[in-house]
């Protein structure tokens, strides 16, 4: 980045970072992986209380596109996650991370989708609430979706297993 004027994306992410550390939301920590490149962030999310994910600490990465904030970032958990809205490779499938143009599941209204007014803390808070309340309609992990619907007990058991694994127990 040296010698070049920081791009709009970099500038905005810098501001967001400043804002984020001045007022960090509870249960979330995040920051750029590398001070030179603000386009890749690393974050840690606490499992929400009173959910199967309680007590867990889940690492994830946020990859921002060059034209951020016009396009949404991609969020990917780097630990194993068992959740109806998280793909098996860890990618999060949540409506506010979908650009207004594409709609993989054909049900989200435009107002639920990505818009430049969103920000890192809002995304992470949404993901946290998604952990607490999976969205039945958009299945990213069909097996988990089915399990969550039909066999809550087994679902909780598997999730507890992944939580333990994420903590390295």
């Amino acid at each position: 980045m040296s010698g070049k004027r920081p791009s709009v994306a970099q500038k905005r992410l810098m501001k967001e970072y400043k804002q984020f550390i001045s007022d960090p939301p509870q249960g979330i920590s995040a920051g750029p992986a590398d001070e030179d490149n603000f386009l890749l962030w690393e974050c840690l999310i606490q499992g929400p209380d009173d959910t199967p994910y309680e007590g867990g600490l889940f690492p994830a990465t946020l990859k921002f596109p060059q034209d951020y904030p016009l396009s949404p970032p991609v969020m990917k958990f780097t630990c194993e996650m068992y959740h109806p809205n998280i793909y098996k490779d860890g990618t999060v499938c949540i409506s506010i991370l979908h650009a207004p143009g594409d709609d993989p599941n054909m049900y989200e209204s435009a107002s639920e989708r990505w818009s430049p007014i969103q920000s890192v803390d809002k995304i992470l808070l949404s993901v946290m609430s998604m952990l607490a309340e999976p969205n039945d309609e958009s299945g990213a992990n069909i097996d988990a979706s089915k399990m969550w619907r039909d066999d809550q007990e087994q679902f909780v058991k598997i999730v507890r297993g992944t939580v333990r694994k994420a903590l390295g127990l």
């Binding site: 967001e16 016009l70 650009a99 207004p100 143009g101 107002s111 818009s115 007014i117 089915k146």
Partner: protein
């Protein structure tokens, strides 16, 4: 600090912040540049994505813009854009010609050429001239187009055929694609795919073990892979038992290594699958994206691409034809040709068998039904006529069967080793074919057969059954495709009606009475999954049984009624036969077709006035309730405990209490219990007398239902019947002699249904015939019962409305509406006659009665004016809505009188004024022609001011556009007040 909601930067003198929408708080402000960039990216129009406020931009014009655009500049710009749009339209025209005319003509030409090639090789020479075509589109077009035989009609027919063929191809490509999506979405199927993959991994695992052992030269050196798989499975068992310790260590090492291999494999495969999905998605996106399609069709992009696309399309088309039709057809034709050539004896055999059957039938039914006609004997001499459409289709099928059996044999005999992908692909193909076959049978073949049966069973209404039988059969073989489509439509309509009837019954009865009929609203019903899971044999058995049920049902419930009517009514009062003058060859152009269309429109309108569903529902409830009360079945059908009905001889049984009860439990239902749900006979004994009786009974109810066969299917599977839980059943009272009572109920339903339908058909027809005999016989030269029906239906419905209302004021209101409706119809008809039909008469000779066609056309115009929302009649439209916004019953009388007065005045003006002008002009010119010509002339004259207004408006708009184009320097965002 106020920041832009997009870039989070603050205000600068060059980039001020705006607040253009209702949003407030931290997202209130935005830079104009940021906002415009976001709007172009999001492609959702100039609207805030959060509060849906429309952003307001004002154009800033350059200061040197003249107040009026100079004429030279204006005409320059106008000519440029006229040229441009001419170019675009020419291009569209070219593209349309290319795809809609040239392409079909060439394709259909090619189509027939290559089939002729087959014919010359494999058909007896005497027949070659008879088959020049593969009559695909030809069979759908009305006879009308073939009568003149000129060049234009020939080209038209070819184009039409080409279009039909091309759309058929497109369908064959698109349908499997959709089915593939469904199949892949099916959970069970994905598991199957995974299983294949796992098996393969196991296989390779074992192979690796064998290889290693060979290298080591240990004890397993001579084992083959299958044994190793067994050994491995065995080994996993042994391992748990902790035996053969040293071998275990060795194996463990191998296993670890294989595990790693396997993981790598999986990862690779996942990556490959992901790549494949991506590619497919990309291809799909590209195809779905309008731009690409437009470019392919030639609307956009360089003109050269049009010819490239044409080339691609032709190649695809030719490839498809050769692979999908020509090759199988040639193979099939060759097969049939060989059979024809060599096995003449088959002819004799078939002749002999047919002769015996006919003799038998004649012996049983008498020779009137199966006459020894010429047609029949000529049909007999040649058992197989290769010139017909059916024969062509059959030969294509033979070809496919031939190829498929070859492939099957190859797979069976040489057992080629297939990769996982190939295996999965085969599995997918199999699933797709299975789904398409089952759905095709259920959605196409099944309704078609229903339509055929219905047709046969209503034949007695139209005359002598045996005469009509042969007549319709001949028509069918002459116009096979038209007939197939017609019968399919009729059958589908019937099945939908039947389903509606069943759901109506479901609504009225206690839930669970119809437990053996699948509820289409059942959320857990997944047709694709079921097709994939159950075996073909089971499904075909189910379809055949339910087809049999339908056949018996139609034959018994409709056929018997029509036969009875024929026997009872044909000699009396001339009520039967009905005259229907259906010429199936020209069906698409025929009177019946238009009348049916007209009638559908009309019944739609009427149905908004009379709530047919409610009336039907009420009637059925009454019939059912009364019958059940008489038969003491109220408890069983409605779960309605009437103590007066209960007899000490009757019993209480457990009946299913909801429609979603698992059919596998059905064996446990209808067990006799006391009123307080204590089994009378211990539950262990599987089959009691009541049980058997109940089974038989459920069978008898089931006789008219599609899915009744589920019951049989489930019980034959030999699975263990799960026990009932108390949420599955209710205890209901069944009177003694339960079975005959249910039968009596069904008979009552049948008789009432027959009476209702007869009433619904006969009342309009009789009304129409009466009207014809009294008033209309001077106007209509020919009058079939179709006309009688379409005239009689609204009048009979009107009578019904008047008769069914108790208040005299409302009844008189109806009469008023009815009369004004007739007045409106006459006025519209007169206008149609004067402005359109008489002008058309100058060019085309027509022998239809003028009044009849004027009234038909006036009627259609009225219906169109009601339904086409774009046809807003300036004054009458709002008045009409105002009058009937609350339905006929409570129509606005004031608005109605206004409507009648305005419309009469208007039609008087429209019809009488030109007539008067014509009279005046007649004095000068002394020609009768003036009376005809005056109407279109006046119409044209009255249109001129409207057209001029439009042109003026357009010019003003265009000037604004020029300003925008030439003098805009920028845009300025508006703040919200």
């Amino acid at each position: 600090m106020e920041t832009c909601r997009i870039c989070r930067c603050e205000e600068t003198p060059e980039e001020p912040l705006f607040y253009p929408c209702k949003c407030s708080g931290s997202i209130k402000y935005v830079h104009q540049g940021c906002l415009q960039e976001w709007l172009t990216t999001s492609k959702k129009g100039q609207v805030c994505e959060l509060c849906n406020t429309k952003f307001l931009f004002t154009k800033i014009y350059s200061p040197d813009m003249p107040r009026d655009i100079p004429l030279g500049l204006f005409s320059h710009q106008l000519s440029i854009s006229v040229l441009k749009s001419t170019k675009t339209w020419l291009r569209y025209f070219l593209v349309a010609c290319k795809w809609l005319i040239l392409f079909p003509i060439i394709t259909s030409g090619f189509f027939f050429k290559i089939f002729k090639f087959t014919h010359q090789l494999f058909i007896e020479e005497s027949l070659v001239d008879n088959i020049s075509t593969f009559p695909l589109g030809r069979a759908l077009l009305p006879q009308f187009f073939f009568t003149d035989g000129g060049l234009y009609s020939g080209l038209f027919v070819m184009t039409f055929e080409g279009l039909v063929i091309t759309s058929a191809y497109l369908l064959t490509v698109i349908v499997p694609f959709f089915v593939r999506e469904w199949v892949l979405n099916c959970f069970a199927f994905r598991q199957e795919l995974d299983r294949i993959q796992e098996e393969d991994i196991k296989q390779r695992h074992a192979q690796a073990v064998v290889d290693v052992m060979r290298r080591i030269g240990g004890e397993g050196a001579n084992e083959d892979v299958e044994n190793v798989i067994d050994a491995l499975n065995q080994f996993q068992q042994d391992q748990r038992n902790n035996v053969q310790h040293d071998r275990q260590v060795l194996e463990e090492m191998r296993r670890m290594q294989d595990q790693i291999n396997r993981l790598e494999d999986q990862r690779e495969q996942q990556a490959r699958a992901a790549r494949r999905d991506d590619d497919e998605l990309a291809a799909l996106d590209a195809a779905a994206e309008d731009n690409t399609l437009m470019a392919f069709l030639g609307f956009t992009g360089p003109l050269k691409a049009l010819w490239q696309a044409t080339f691609t399309a032709y190649t695809l088309y030719f490839g498809f034809t050769v692979i999908l039709l020509f090759s199988p057809y040639t193979i099939g034709r060759a097969t049939m040709f060989t059979i024809e050539k060599n096995v003449d004896t088959i002819n004799y055999c078939i002749d002999a068998i047919q002769g015996i059957i006919m003799k038998f039938l004649r012996g049983v039914f008498g020779s009137t039904w199966f006459p020894i006609s010429d047609e029949l004997t000529s049909y007999n001499t040649k058992f197989y006529n290769p010139t017909t459409f059916g024969a062509h289709a059959f030969e294509v099928l033979v070809g496919y069967t031939f190829v498929a059996s070859l492939v099957y044999l190859y797979m069976k005999i040489s057992k080629p080793k297939l990769s996982v992908d190939a295996k999965q692909l085969l599995k997918l193909l199999e699933a797709i074919v299975k789904v398409i076959t089952m759905f095709g049978v259920e959605l196409l073949v099944f309704p078609f057969c229903c339509g055929l049966l219905l047709h046969v069973s209503i034949l007695p209404l139209f005359g002598n059954f045996s005469d009509l039988w042969w007549e319709r059969l001949a028509q069918f073989s002459m116009f096979p495709l038209t007939n197939i489509v017609l019968h399919w439509v009729i059958g589908t309509f019937y099945m939908i009606q039947f389903a509606m009837f069943v759901s109506m019954c479901r609504g009225q009865m206690r839930p669970g009475v119809l437990y053996f009929v699948r509820n289409p609203n059942d959320p857990s019903y997944q047709p694709v999954q079921e097709v994939l899971e159950k075996s073909m044999y089971f499904q075909f058995k189910r379809i055949i049984i339910s087809g049999g049920m339908y056949a018996v049902f139609i034959g018994l419930c409709i056929g018997i009624v029509t036969f009875a009517y024929q026997k009872l009514l044909s000699d009396k009062a001339g009520l039967l036969p009905l005259s229907l003058d259906v010429a199936l060859g020209d069906f698409w152009l025929s009177k019946p077709f238009f009348h049916v269309g007209l009638h559908v429109c009309l019944s739609l309108w009427l149905s908004s006035q009379i709530d047919g569903k409610q009336v039907a529902n009420y009637t059925w409830t009454q019939i059912l309730k009364r019958t059940c009360a008489v038969l003491s079945l109220s408890s069983f059908i409605f779960n309605d405990d009437q103590n007066s009905e209960q007899d000490p001889k009757g019993s209480f049984v457990r009946a299913p209490c909801s429609d979603s009860v698992s059919l596998r439990k059905s064996k446990n239902f209808f067990v006799e219990v006391t009123k307080d749900d204590v089994p009378i006979i211990p539950e262990k004994i599987p089959r009691t007398e009541t049980n058997a009786e109940a089974d038989a009974d459920s069978g008898s109810i089931a006789s008219n239902t599609d899915t009744a066969t589920e019951t049989t299917g489930a019980t034959e599977n030999g699975e263990e019947v799960p026990p009932l839980t108390s949420s599955d059943y209710v205890v209901v009272y069944t009177p003694p002699r339960f079975q005959p009572r249910i039968l009596a109920l069904l008979c009552t339903i049948w008789i009432c249904g027959a009476l209702c339908i007869t009433g619904l058909v006969a009342a309009p027809i009789l009304t129409g015939r009466f009207l014809y005999s009294v008033i209309l016989n001077n106007l209509w030269s020919e009058f079939s019962d179709i006309e009688a029906f379409s005239i009689g239906a609204p009048i009979a419905a009107g009578f019904y409305l008047v008769a069914s209302t108790k208040s005299g004021a409302i009844a008189s209101r109806f009469v008023l509406v009815f009369l004004s409706g007739i007045a409106l119809l006459i006025a519209t008809s007169a206008a149609c006659e004067m402005y359109v039909l008489r002008v058309v008469d100058i060019f085309i000779d027509s022998d239809t009665s003028t009044v009849a066609r004027a009234i038909s056309m006036g009627f259609m115009v009225l219906v169109a004016a009601k339904y086409a929302p774009s046809l807003h009649v300036p004054v009458l439209g709002p008045l009409f809505t105002q009058t009937f916004q609350n339905g006929i019953r409570t129509c606005n009388l004031k608005a109605l009188s206004k409507l009648v007065i305005t419309s009469s005045a208007l039609s008087l003006l429209v019809v009488a004024l030109p007539a008067m002008i014509g009279l005046v002009l007649d004095g000068f010119f002394q020609t009768h022609f003036i009376h005809i010509a005056i109407y279109p002339v006046i119409l044209a004259l009255s249109i001129i001011p409207v057209v001029w207004g439009q042109v003026f408006q357009f010019l003003e708009l265009y000037e604004a556009q020029i300003r925008d184009k030439l003098y805009t320097t920028g845009e300025r965002l508006h703040n919200r007040e």
